[in-house]
């Protein structure tokens, strides 16, 4: 049962990622990315990471993708008219490089997979909101506060950059 669920979610994730790259329309690409994020949240649930699944949907599929859609609306971008209508060396090289990266990562996974310890009995206790908050507010309190400063700096910096306009003439 859980294997079929994983296969369903994995096919959904890979299919929506491919559709995002191939699709000409930018808005459709953003919506396919939302599907990808949601299926990834489902995979997090399969891994018993409930806290991260909720955060993934709230932050990624919610906040960040709404930001992307707002920017697409502001830019009123036109479609790329020359996508895959003729063979280009750039695409060929890109797919070769992608296949090489897949092969490389698979090779390193195959090299390390025998060395992993046989731990899977206590998977269920990990990843709840309680467990995550317990560690987050004791052991990782300082990085957590640094994250707040980082987000503030990002917002102020984004406002400054977005308002910048080069004087013409």
């Amino acid at each position: 049962m859980i294997v079929y669920l994983f296969i369903l979610l994995a096919v959904l994730a890979i299919g929506s990622a491919l559709a995002m790259v191939i699709n000409k329309n930018v808005v459709n690409s953003a919506l396919f990315l939302v599907i990808n994020m949601v299926s990834l949240a489902g995979i997090y649930l399969l891994l018993n990471a409930q806290f991260l699944a909720v955060i993934q949907i709230l932050v990624y599929a919610g906040a960040i993708m709404v930001l992307f859609l707002f920017v697409i609306m502001l830019l009123n971008v036109e479609d790329e008219e020359k996508l895959f209508d003729k063979f280009r060396v750039k695409y060929f090289l890109a797919f070769i490089l992608g296949a090489a990266v897949v092969g490389q990562i698979f090779y390193s996974i195959a090299g390390v997979t025998d060395m992993l310890p046989e731990i899977s009995s206590n998977m269920a206790e990990i990843g709840t909101v309680e467990a995550a908050g317990d560690v987050l507010y004791t052991k990782y309190l300082f990085p957590f506060e640094m994250t707040a400063i980082l987000l503030t700096a990002a917002v102020v910096g984004a406002l400054m950059v977005a308002q910048y306009k080069i004087k013409k003439g």
Partner: protein, 100 residues
């Protein structure tokens, strides 16, 4: 039962799709979305190792990675808007501000 290799394989495939997207697309917003896809693939690796080892530190790391990704998205999209306001394009082949 699920093995960890499946999750790592899914993560590898998604990461490579993101690389291909960054290389072949010309719209800066789509390139940015592909970078987000690559970040998500790496997050999946961290979560799968974390939960198969029974150690929560990896998931906390993913939490911080999410916060950094949000900040990065905000700043990056602001830069794209600034470039668009000055050049009226988001096509990365036509943006040559730093090229000489």
């Amino acid at each position: 039962m699920l093995e960890i290799d499946w999750f790592l394989g899914l993560s590898a495939i998604m990461f490579s799709i993101g690389i291909i997207g960054v290389l072949i697309r010309r719209n800066a917003v789509v390139i940015f979305m592909c970078v987000e896809l690559m970040l998500n693939a790496v997050n999946l690796t961290l979560v799968s190792f974390s939960s198969f080892h029974g150690n929560i530190d990896g998931q906390i790391f993913v939490f911080f990675a999410l916060a950094v990704a949000a900040a990065e998205a905000v700043v990056g999209l602001a830069i794209i808007i600034a470039i668009f306001r000055n050049n009226l394009t988001v096509d990365v082949t036509e943006i040559n501000l730093l090229r000489w």
